[in-house]
Protein backbone atom coordinates (compact mmCIF):
# COMPACT_ATOMS: atom_id res chain seq x y z
CA UNK A 1 0.00 0.00 0.00
CA UNK A 2 1.60 3.25 -1.09
CA UNK A 3 0.61 6.47 0.59
CA UNK A 4 -0.55 8.67 -2.26
CA UNK A 5 -3.00 11.57 -2.21
CA UNK A 6 -6.02 9.25 -2.39
CA UNK A 7 -4.88 7.42 0.73
CA UNK A 8 -4.54 10.69 2.62
CA UNK A 9 -8.06 11.66 1.56
CA UNK A 10 -9.34 8.27 2.78
CA UNK A 11 -7.62 8.80 6.14
CA UNK A 12 -9.16 12.26 6.42
CA UNK A 13 -12.62 10.90 5.58
CA UNK A 14 -12.33 8.27 8.31
CA UNK A 15 -11.11 10.85 10.84
CA UNK A 16 -13.96 13.26 9.99
CA UNK A 17 -16.42 10.37 10.22
CA UNK A 18 -15.11 9.41 13.65
CA UNK A 19 -15.36 13.02 14.83
CA UNK A 20 -18.96 13.29 13.58
CA UNK A 21 -19.84 10.13 15.52
CA UNK A 22 -18.21 11.50 18.66
CA UNK A 23 -19.93 14.89 18.44
CA UNK A 24 -23.24 13.39 17.28
CA UNK A 25 -23.50 11.39 20.50
CA UNK A 26 -23.69 14.71 22.39
CA UNK A 27 -26.92 15.59 20.53
CA UNK A 28 -28.84 12.40 21.27
CA UNK A 29 -31.06 12.63 24.38
CA UNK A 30 -29.64 9.72 26.36
CA UNK A 31 -31.45 9.13 29.61
CA UNK A 32 -29.99 5.84 30.73
CA UNK A 33 -31.61 3.78 33.46
CA UNK A 34 -33.32 6.78 35.18
CA UNK A 35 -35.14 7.60 31.94
CA UNK A 36 -36.28 4.00 31.66
CA UNK A 37 -38.11 4.63 34.96
CA UNK A 38 -39.39 8.02 33.66
CA UNK A 39 -37.28 9.86 36.22
CA UNK A 40 -35.05 11.66 33.74
CA UNK A 41 -35.48 13.23 30.31
CA UNK A 42 -34.44 11.26 27.24
CA UNK A 43 -34.53 7.78 25.78
CA UNK A 44 -34.35 5.07 28.41
CA UNK A 45 -31.16 3.31 27.39
CA UNK A 46 -27.43 3.90 27.27
CA UNK A 47 -25.40 5.97 24.85
CA UNK A 48 -23.61 3.03 23.33
CA UNK A 49 -26.82 1.19 22.50
CA UNK A 50 -28.31 4.29 20.85
CA UNK A 51 -25.13 5.26 19.05
CA UNK A 52 -24.55 1.71 17.88
CA UNK A 53 -28.19 1.34 16.84
CA UNK A 54 -28.31 4.52 14.78
CA UNK A 55 -24.81 4.03 13.46
CA UNK A 56 -25.43 0.47 12.32
CA UNK A 57 -28.71 1.44 10.65
CA UNK A 58 -26.83 4.25 8.92
CA UNK A 59 -24.10 1.81 7.93
CA UNK A 60 -26.63 -0.66 6.52
CA UNK A 61 -28.45 1.96 4.47
CA UNK A 62 -25.16 3.45 3.27
CA UNK A 63 -24.03 -0.06 2.28
CA UNK A 64 -27.25 -0.60 0.37
CA UNK A 65 -26.72 2.63 -1.56
CA UNK A 66 -23.07 1.75 -2.12
CA UNK A 67 -24.11 -1.47 -3.86
CA UNK A 68 -25.79 0.75 -6.46
CA UNK A 69 -23.42 3.69 -6.88
CA UNK A 70 -19.89 4.77 -6.01
CA UNK A 71 -20.85 8.43 -5.67
CA UNK A 72 -20.02 9.65 -2.14
CA UNK A 73 -22.91 12.12 -1.72
CA UNK A 74 -25.95 9.82 -2.10
CA UNK A 75 -24.16 7.30 0.15
CA UNK A 76 -23.69 9.89 2.89
CA UNK A 77 -27.28 11.13 2.52
CA UNK A 78 -28.68 7.59 2.72
CA UNK A 79 -26.60 6.87 5.82
CA UNK A 80 -27.88 10.03 7.50
CA UNK A 81 -31.51 9.31 6.63
CA UNK A 82 -31.25 5.69 7.81
CA UNK A 83 -29.84 6.71 11.18
CA UNK A 84 -32.39 9.51 11.56
CA UNK A 85 -35.29 7.15 10.86
CA UNK A 86 -33.96 4.68 13.43
CA UNK A 87 -33.54 7.23 16.25
CA UNK A 88 -36.81 9.02 15.39
CA UNK A 89 -38.76 5.76 15.43
CA UNK A 90 -37.20 4.91 18.78
CA UNK A 91 -38.07 8.30 20.22
CA UNK A 92 -41.59 8.26 18.79
CA UNK A 93 -42.54 4.84 20.13
CA UNK A 94 -40.77 5.66 23.40
CA UNK A 95 -42.87 8.82 23.62
CA UNK A 96 -46.09 6.81 23.17
CA UNK A 97 -45.09 4.65 26.11
CA UNK A 98 -44.13 7.62 28.27
CA UNK A 99 -47.37 9.45 27.38
CA UNK A 100 -49.97 6.69 27.32
CA UNK A 101 -48.53 3.91 29.48
CA UNK A 102 -46.42 5.69 32.11
CA UNK A 103 -48.58 8.80 31.96
CA UNK A 104 -45.76 11.29 32.41
CA UNK A 105 -45.86 14.82 30.98
CA UNK A 106 -42.82 15.59 28.83
CA UNK A 107 -40.61 18.13 30.56
CA UNK A 108 -36.96 19.09 30.60
CA UNK A 109 -35.30 19.93 33.90
CA UNK A 110 -32.33 21.63 32.27
CA UNK A 111 -34.13 24.66 30.76
CA UNK A 112 -37.02 26.83 32.01
CA UNK A 113 -38.56 27.26 28.57
CA UNK A 114 -38.34 24.87 25.65
CA UNK A 115 -36.16 26.81 23.16
CA UNK A 116 -38.28 25.63 20.21
CA UNK A 117 -41.88 25.67 21.42
CA UNK A 118 -41.40 28.21 24.22
CA UNK A 119 -43.46 26.08 26.61
CA UNK A 120 -42.76 26.45 30.31
CA UNK A 121 -41.04 23.38 31.75
CA UNK A 122 -40.59 23.56 35.57
CA UNK A 123 -44.30 23.14 36.54
CA UNK A 124 -44.37 19.76 34.79
CA UNK A 125 -41.21 18.32 36.30
CA UNK A 126 -42.28 15.87 39.00
CA UNK A 127 -40.60 16.44 42.37
CA UNK A 128 -37.54 14.28 42.87
CA UNK A 129 -36.98 13.70 39.15
CA UNK A 130 -34.92 15.48 36.51
CA UNK A 131 -37.61 15.65 33.87
CA UNK A 132 -39.58 12.99 32.00
CA UNK A 133 -40.19 11.87 28.46
CA UNK A 134 -38.80 13.40 25.29
CA UNK A 135 -39.75 17.11 24.89
CA UNK A 136 -39.66 18.77 21.44
CA UNK A 137 -36.17 20.20 21.90
CA UNK A 138 -34.75 16.76 22.76
CA UNK A 139 -36.51 15.21 19.75
CA UNK A 140 -35.03 17.78 17.37
CA UNK A 141 -31.61 17.46 18.98
CA UNK A 142 -31.74 13.67 18.75
CA UNK A 143 -32.59 13.85 15.04
CA UNK A 144 -29.58 16.12 14.43
CA UNK A 145 -27.35 13.78 16.41
CA UNK A 146 -28.55 10.75 14.46
CA UNK A 147 -27.89 12.55 11.17
CA UNK A 148 -24.33 13.27 12.29
CA UNK A 149 -23.86 9.66 13.40
CA UNK A 150 -25.21 8.34 10.10
CA UNK A 151 -23.00 10.66 8.04
CA UNK A 152 -20.06 9.65 10.22
CA UNK A 153 -20.77 5.94 9.76
CA UNK A 154 -21.07 6.36 5.98
CA UNK A 155 -17.86 8.41 5.87
CA UNK A 156 -16.00 5.64 7.68
CA UNK A 157 -17.55 2.85 5.60
CA UNK A 158 -17.07 4.43 2.15
CA UNK A 159 -13.24 4.71 2.14
CA UNK A 160 -12.89 1.26 3.70
CA UNK A 161 -14.87 -0.37 0.90
CA UNK A 162 -12.94 1.65 -1.68
CA UNK A 163 -9.68 0.33 -0.20
CA UNK A 164 -10.42 -3.34 0.41
CA UNK A 165 -13.50 -4.04 -1.77
CA UNK A 166 -14.94 -6.27 0.95
CA UNK A 167 -18.22 -4.86 2.37
CA UNK A 168 -18.43 -7.24 5.33
CA UNK A 169 -14.85 -6.65 6.48
CA UNK A 170 -15.38 -2.90 6.07
CA UNK A 171 -18.60 -3.02 8.04
CA UNK A 172 -16.97 -4.89 10.91
CA UNK A 173 -14.05 -2.49 10.94
CA UNK A 174 -16.41 0.51 10.79
CA UNK A 175 -18.39 -0.90 13.74
CA UNK A 176 -15.14 -1.11 15.70
CA UNK A 177 -14.26 2.53 14.95
CA UNK A 178 -17.85 3.55 15.66
CA UNK A 179 -17.99 1.87 19.07
CA UNK A 180 -14.64 3.28 20.21
CA UNK A 181 -15.75 6.84 19.40
CA UNK A 182 -19.26 6.40 20.80
CA UNK A 183 -17.90 5.08 24.11
CA UNK A 184 -15.33 7.87 24.42
CA UNK A 185 -18.08 10.44 23.77
CA UNK A 186 -20.45 8.80 26.24
CA UNK A 187 -17.74 8.83 28.90
CA UNK A 188 -17.36 12.55 28.21
CA UNK A 189 -21.04 13.23 28.96
CA UNK A 190 -20.97 10.90 31.99
CA UNK A 191 -23.73 8.71 30.66
CA UNK A 192 -26.69 11.07 30.28
CA UNK A 193 -27.43 14.23 28.31
CA UNK A 194 -30.60 15.96 27.09
CA UNK A 195 -29.37 17.49 23.86
CA UNK A 196 -27.66 20.64 22.65
CA UNK A 197 -29.45 22.77 25.27
CA UNK A 198 -27.94 20.72 28.12
CA UNK A 199 -25.10 22.46 30.03
CA UNK A 200 -23.08 19.24 29.58
CA UNK A 201 -23.05 19.88 25.82
CA UNK A 202 -20.35 22.51 26.40
CA UNK A 203 -17.94 19.66 27.15
CA UNK A 204 -17.84 18.59 23.48
CA UNK A 205 -14.28 19.91 22.81
CA UNK A 206 -12.90 17.20 25.09
CA UNK A 207 -14.65 14.49 23.07
CA UNK A 208 -13.48 16.17 19.87
CA UNK A 209 -9.85 15.91 20.97
CA UNK A 210 -10.26 12.36 22.27
CA UNK A 211 -11.98 11.12 19.09
CA UNK A 212 -9.44 12.94 16.90
CA UNK A 213 -6.51 11.05 18.44
CA UNK A 214 -8.21 7.65 18.62
CA UNK A 215 -9.72 7.79 15.11
CA UNK A 216 -6.42 8.91 13.62
CA UNK A 217 -4.65 5.84 15.02
CA UNK A 218 -7.46 3.63 13.71
CA UNK A 219 -7.51 5.35 10.28
CA UNK A 220 -3.77 4.81 9.82
CA UNK A 221 -4.19 1.04 10.13
CA UNK A 222 -7.53 0.99 8.29
CA UNK A 223 -5.91 2.00 4.99
CA UNK A 224 -3.38 -0.86 5.23
CA UNK A 225 -5.98 -3.61 5.46
CA UNK A 226 -6.63 -5.68 2.35
CA UNK A 227 -9.84 -7.46 1.54
CA UNK A 228 -8.60 -11.03 1.87
CA UNK A 229 -9.34 -13.61 -0.77
Amino acid sequence: MNFDATTIIYILEIVVGGLLVGIGVHFVPVGGAPAAMAQATGIGTGTVQLAAGSGLTGLLSAGLMMSVTDNLWPIIATGAVGAMIMIDATMLTGSWIYAYAVGAPFASAKVNYDPITGFSQPPYVAPGTVGQGIPTICYVSGTIGAAMGGVGGALIYYPLVMINNNPSLSAVFAIGIFLVNAVLASWNIQGTIEGFHDPKFKKWPAAFKACLVSTFILALVAVIITGGA
Binding site: G32, A33, G46, T47, V48, Q49, A52, N166, S168, L169, V172, F173, I175, G176, I177, F178, L179, V180, A182, V183, L184, S186, W187, N188, Q190, G191, A206, A207, K209, A210, V213, S214, I217, L218, V221, A222, I224, I225, T226, G227, G228, A229
Partner: protein, 275 residues
Protein backbone atom coordinates in the same frame (compact mmCIF):
# COMPACT_ATOMS: atom_id res chain seq x y z
CA UNK B 1 -8.23 -21.88 33.86
CA UNK B 2 -6.60 -18.86 35.34
CA UNK B 3 -9.02 -18.93 38.22
CA UNK B 4 -8.44 -22.62 38.80
CA UNK B 5 -6.20 -22.03 41.81
CA UNK B 6 -8.96 -20.66 43.97
CA UNK B 7 -10.79 -23.24 45.98
CA UNK B 8 -14.44 -22.38 46.46
CA UNK B 9 -14.91 -21.00 49.92
CA UNK B 10 -12.08 -18.50 50.00
CA UNK B 11 -12.70 -15.06 48.45
CA UNK B 12 -9.09 -15.05 47.28
CA UNK B 13 -7.98 -11.86 45.58
CA UNK B 14 -5.99 -12.79 42.51
CA UNK B 15 -3.33 -10.29 41.60
CA UNK B 16 -4.08 -8.39 38.41
CA UNK B 17 -0.51 -8.90 37.16
CA UNK B 18 -0.77 -12.64 37.59
CA UNK B 19 -4.11 -12.76 35.76
CA UNK B 20 -2.62 -10.67 32.95
CA UNK B 21 0.37 -12.99 32.53
CA UNK B 22 -1.79 -16.13 32.61
CA UNK B 23 -4.35 -14.51 30.31
CA UNK B 24 -1.84 -13.40 27.69
CA UNK B 25 0.26 -16.55 27.82
CA UNK B 26 -2.75 -18.84 27.92
CA UNK B 27 -4.52 -17.24 24.98
CA UNK B 28 -1.47 -16.82 22.73
CA UNK B 29 -0.04 -20.27 23.47
CA UNK B 30 -3.49 -21.83 23.23
CA UNK B 31 -4.19 -20.39 19.78
CA UNK B 32 -0.73 -21.43 18.56
CA UNK B 33 -1.11 -24.89 20.07
CA UNK B 34 -4.43 -25.30 18.27
CA UNK B 35 -2.91 -24.02 15.03
CA UNK B 36 0.14 -26.31 15.27
CA UNK B 37 -1.97 -29.37 16.09
CA UNK B 38 -4.35 -28.59 13.23
CA UNK B 39 -1.49 -28.03 10.79
CA UNK B 40 0.61 -31.03 11.82
CA UNK B 41 -2.25 -33.50 11.83
CA UNK B 42 -3.91 -31.95 8.78
CA UNK B 43 -7.35 -31.95 10.42
CA UNK B 44 -9.53 -29.29 12.01
CA UNK B 45 -10.44 -31.37 15.04
CA UNK B 46 -8.28 -29.28 17.40
CA UNK B 47 -10.06 -26.01 16.57
CA UNK B 48 -11.87 -26.16 19.90
CA UNK B 49 -8.57 -25.35 21.64
CA UNK B 50 -8.88 -21.88 20.09
CA UNK B 51 -12.18 -21.41 21.91
CA UNK B 52 -10.59 -22.55 25.17
CA UNK B 53 -7.72 -20.10 24.57
CA UNK B 54 -10.28 -17.33 24.10
CA UNK B 55 -11.47 -17.98 27.66
CA UNK B 56 -8.07 -16.90 28.99
CA UNK B 57 -8.51 -13.57 27.21
CA UNK B 58 -12.04 -13.34 28.59
CA UNK B 59 -10.86 -13.79 32.16
CA UNK B 60 -8.21 -11.11 31.69
CA UNK B 61 -10.80 -8.75 30.16
CA UNK B 62 -13.43 -9.47 32.82
CA UNK B 63 -10.89 -8.75 35.55
CA UNK B 64 -9.98 -5.44 33.87
CA UNK B 65 -13.68 -4.50 33.58
CA UNK B 66 -13.99 -5.25 37.28
CA UNK B 67 -11.02 -3.07 38.19
CA UNK B 68 -11.95 -0.07 36.03
CA UNK B 69 -15.70 -0.13 36.66
CA UNK B 70 -15.10 -0.45 40.39
CA UNK B 71 -14.34 3.27 40.24
CA UNK B 72 -17.66 4.03 38.55
CA UNK B 73 -17.59 5.27 34.95
CA UNK B 74 -21.10 6.72 34.81
CA UNK B 75 -22.18 5.06 31.57
CA UNK B 76 -22.88 1.52 32.70
CA UNK B 77 -20.62 -1.50 32.42
CA UNK B 78 -21.76 -2.55 28.89
CA UNK B 79 -20.10 0.50 27.34
CA UNK B 80 -16.63 -0.63 28.40
CA UNK B 81 -17.28 -4.16 27.11
CA UNK B 82 -18.29 -2.77 23.72
CA UNK B 83 -15.17 -0.60 23.73
CA UNK B 84 -13.08 -3.68 24.47
CA UNK B 85 -14.55 -5.66 21.58
CA UNK B 86 -14.48 -2.61 19.29
CA UNK B 87 -10.75 -2.24 19.88
CA UNK B 88 -10.35 -6.01 19.61
CA UNK B 89 -12.08 -6.39 16.25
CA UNK B 90 -10.00 -3.59 14.73
CA UNK B 91 -6.81 -5.15 16.10
CA UNK B 92 -7.72 -8.59 14.75
CA UNK B 93 -8.50 -7.28 11.26
CA UNK B 94 -5.23 -5.34 11.27
CA UNK B 95 -3.11 -8.17 12.67
CA UNK B 96 -4.43 -10.78 10.26
CA UNK B 97 -4.14 -8.51 7.25
CA UNK B 98 -0.62 -7.25 8.00
CA UNK B 99 0.73 -10.71 8.79
CA UNK B 100 -0.82 -11.92 5.55
CA UNK B 101 0.76 -9.12 3.51
CA UNK B 102 4.20 -9.97 4.91
CA UNK B 103 3.58 -13.61 4.10
CA UNK B 104 3.79 -14.75 7.70
CA UNK B 105 0.22 -15.69 8.60
CA UNK B 106 1.34 -17.30 11.84
CA UNK B 107 2.58 -13.99 13.24
CA UNK B 108 -0.93 -12.52 13.17
CA UNK B 109 -1.63 -13.31 16.85
CA UNK B 110 1.44 -11.39 17.99
CA UNK B 111 0.78 -8.41 15.69
CA UNK B 112 -2.85 -8.30 16.88
CA UNK B 113 -1.81 -8.40 20.51
CA UNK B 114 0.83 -5.68 20.16
CA UNK B 115 -1.49 -3.34 18.26
CA UNK B 116 -4.36 -3.96 20.70
CA UNK B 117 -2.20 -3.22 23.73
CA UNK B 118 -0.72 -0.04 22.25
CA UNK B 119 -4.14 1.22 21.16
CA UNK B 120 -5.71 0.29 24.50
CA UNK B 121 -2.99 2.18 26.33
CA UNK B 122 -3.50 5.26 24.14
CA UNK B 123 -7.28 5.19 24.72
CA UNK B 124 -6.60 4.85 28.44
CA UNK B 125 -4.33 7.90 28.38
CA UNK B 126 -6.98 9.83 26.41
CA UNK B 127 -9.68 8.84 28.91
CA UNK B 128 -7.60 10.04 31.83
CA UNK B 129 -5.93 13.12 30.35
CA UNK B 130 -8.50 14.50 27.88
CA UNK B 131 -11.82 13.29 29.29
CA UNK B 132 -10.41 13.68 32.81
CA UNK B 133 -11.55 10.43 34.39
CA UNK B 134 -8.58 10.34 36.75
CA UNK B 135 -8.97 6.63 37.37
CA UNK B 136 -5.51 5.37 38.41
CA UNK B 137 -5.83 1.96 36.74
CA UNK B 138 -7.40 3.31 33.51
CA UNK B 139 -4.35 2.92 31.23
CA UNK B 140 -3.55 -0.50 32.61
CA UNK B 141 -7.19 -1.58 32.57
CA UNK B 142 -7.81 -0.54 28.97
CA UNK B 143 -4.56 -2.18 27.84
CA UNK B 144 -5.79 -5.43 29.39
CA UNK B 145 -9.27 -4.92 27.97
CA UNK B 146 -8.09 -4.35 24.42
CA UNK B 147 -5.76 -7.35 24.61
CA UNK B 148 -8.46 -9.53 26.19
CA UNK B 149 -11.06 -8.49 23.61
CA UNK B 150 -8.64 -9.07 20.74
CA UNK B 151 -7.59 -12.50 22.02
CA UNK B 152 -11.22 -13.50 22.60
CA UNK B 153 -12.15 -12.58 19.02
CA UNK B 154 -8.99 -14.24 17.68
CA UNK B 155 -9.58 -17.45 19.63
CA UNK B 156 -13.21 -17.84 18.67
CA UNK B 157 -12.48 -16.85 15.06
CA UNK B 158 -9.92 -19.65 14.98
CA UNK B 159 -12.47 -21.98 16.54
CA UNK B 160 -14.85 -21.29 13.65
CA UNK B 161 -12.37 -21.20 10.75
CA UNK B 162 -9.78 -23.71 12.02
CA UNK B 163 -7.02 -21.67 10.40
CA UNK B 164 -4.96 -18.55 11.05
CA UNK B 165 -4.80 -17.51 7.38
CA UNK B 166 -6.40 -14.14 6.68
CA UNK B 167 -8.27 -15.45 3.64
CA UNK B 168 -9.80 -18.33 5.63
CA UNK B 169 -10.93 -16.13 8.49
CA UNK B 170 -12.39 -13.56 6.08
CA UNK B 171 -14.28 -16.27 4.21
CA UNK B 172 -15.43 -18.35 7.18
CA UNK B 173 -15.95 -15.78 9.92
CA UNK B 174 -16.34 -12.28 8.49
CA UNK B 175 -18.11 -12.82 5.16
CA UNK B 176 -20.50 -15.30 6.76
CA UNK B 177 -21.39 -12.79 9.47
CA UNK B 178 -20.37 -15.08 12.33
CA UNK B 179 -18.12 -12.24 13.50
CA UNK B 180 -21.28 -10.58 14.83
CA UNK B 181 -22.01 -13.62 17.01
CA UNK B 182 -18.43 -13.65 18.27
CA UNK B 183 -18.65 -9.91 18.85
CA UNK B 184 -21.77 -10.02 21.00
CA UNK B 185 -21.14 -13.36 22.76
CA UNK B 186 -17.53 -12.41 23.44
CA UNK B 187 -18.65 -8.98 24.61
CA UNK B 188 -21.12 -10.60 26.98
CA UNK B 189 -18.42 -12.87 28.38
CA UNK B 190 -16.26 -9.84 29.14
CA UNK B 191 -18.83 -7.28 30.30
CA UNK B 192 -21.56 -9.43 31.83
CA UNK B 193 -19.66 -10.88 34.84
CA UNK B 194 -19.08 -7.58 36.56
CA UNK B 195 -22.43 -6.18 35.38
CA UNK B 196 -24.23 -9.11 37.00
CA UNK B 197 -22.18 -9.32 40.19
CA UNK B 198 -21.42 -5.68 40.98
CA UNK B 199 -22.30 -4.28 44.33
CA UNK B 200 -20.77 -4.02 47.78
CA UNK B 201 -20.50 -7.82 48.15
CA UNK B 202 -18.85 -8.37 44.75
CA UNK B 203 -16.15 -11.04 44.99
CA UNK B 204 -13.43 -11.50 42.41
CA UNK B 205 -13.62 -15.27 42.17
CA UNK B 206 -17.39 -15.22 41.67
CA UNK B 207 -17.11 -12.59 38.93
CA UNK B 208 -14.38 -14.43 37.04
CA UNK B 209 -16.09 -17.81 37.30
CA UNK B 210 -19.18 -16.15 35.85
CA UNK B 211 -17.01 -14.89 32.98
CA UNK B 212 -15.77 -18.39 32.13
CA UNK B 213 -19.34 -19.66 32.36
CA UNK B 214 -20.56 -17.14 29.76
CA UNK B 215 -17.47 -17.98 27.72
CA UNK B 216 -18.64 -21.59 27.72
CA UNK B 217 -22.01 -20.45 26.35
CA UNK B 218 -20.20 -18.48 23.65
CA UNK B 219 -18.23 -21.61 22.77
CA UNK B 220 -21.53 -23.46 22.32
CA UNK B 221 -22.58 -20.68 19.91
CA UNK B 222 -19.34 -20.86 17.93
CA UNK B 223 -19.67 -24.65 17.93
CA UNK B 224 -23.04 -24.33 16.21
CA UNK B 225 -21.52 -21.91 13.68
CA UNK B 226 -18.63 -24.33 13.12
CA UNK B 227 -21.01 -26.97 11.74
CA UNK B 228 -21.11 -24.94 8.52
CA UNK B 229 -17.37 -24.26 8.29
CA UNK B 230 -15.53 -27.23 9.86
CA UNK B 231 -16.02 -30.98 9.65
CA UNK B 232 -19.05 -32.17 11.68
CA UNK B 233 -16.82 -34.06 14.13
CA UNK B 234 -14.78 -30.95 14.97
CA UNK B 235 -17.91 -28.85 15.36
CA UNK B 236 -19.59 -31.46 17.55
CA UNK B 237 -16.49 -31.70 19.73
CA UNK B 238 -16.50 -27.93 20.15
CA UNK B 239 -20.17 -27.97 21.06
CA UNK B 240 -19.55 -30.65 23.69
CA UNK B 241 -16.49 -28.85 25.08
CA UNK B 242 -18.52 -25.64 25.33
CA UNK B 243 -21.31 -27.45 27.13
CA UNK B 244 -18.91 -29.12 29.57
CA UNK B 245 -17.22 -25.76 30.35
CA UNK B 246 -20.58 -24.10 30.81
CA UNK B 247 -21.94 -26.85 33.07
CA UNK B 248 -18.80 -27.11 35.22
CA UNK B 249 -18.50 -23.36 35.75
CA UNK B 250 -22.24 -22.91 36.17
CA UNK B 251 -22.20 -25.38 39.09
CA UNK B 252 -19.08 -23.68 40.46
CA UNK B 253 -20.74 -20.29 40.12
CA UNK B 254 -23.85 -21.57 41.88
CA UNK B 255 -21.68 -22.80 44.77
CA UNK B 256 -20.08 -19.34 45.04
CA UNK B 257 -23.49 -17.67 44.95
CA UNK B 258 -24.65 -19.90 47.79
CA UNK B 259 -21.45 -19.10 49.66
CA UNK B 260 -21.88 -15.32 49.30
CA UNK B 261 -25.66 -15.05 49.66
CA UNK B 262 -27.11 -14.74 53.14
CA UNK B 263 -29.70 -17.35 52.18
CA UNK B 264 -30.80 -19.15 49.02
CA UNK B 265 -34.48 -20.10 49.10
CA UNK B 266 -36.74 -21.52 46.43
CA UNK B 267 -39.71 -19.38 45.56
CA UNK B 268 -41.52 -22.19 43.79
CA UNK B 269 -43.65 -21.53 40.76
CA UNK B 270 -45.93 -18.55 40.40
CA UNK B 271 -48.13 -17.99 43.46
CA UNK B 272 -51.73 -19.24 43.03
CA UNK B 273 -53.05 -15.68 42.92
CA UNK B 274 -50.98 -14.95 39.83
CA UNK B 275 -52.23 -17.94 37.88
Amino acid sequence: MTVGGGAAGAPAAFDAKKIRIYGLAGSVLGIYLAWILNTVTGTDIFSFIGAVAALFGVVMGANAVRRVCGYGIGTGVPSIGMLSLGMGVVAVAFGLSVADQFGMGALSVIVTLVYAMIFGYVVGVIANKVIKFNIPVMEEGLTDLAAGGAMAIMGWSFAISGSLAFADIVNDVINTGYIAIIFICGGLAILHPFNANLGPDEKQDRTLVNGVMVGGLSTIATGICAFLTLTPAAALLQLVVGFVIWYYFFMWYYRLVKRDASAVVGTGLLPPSAL
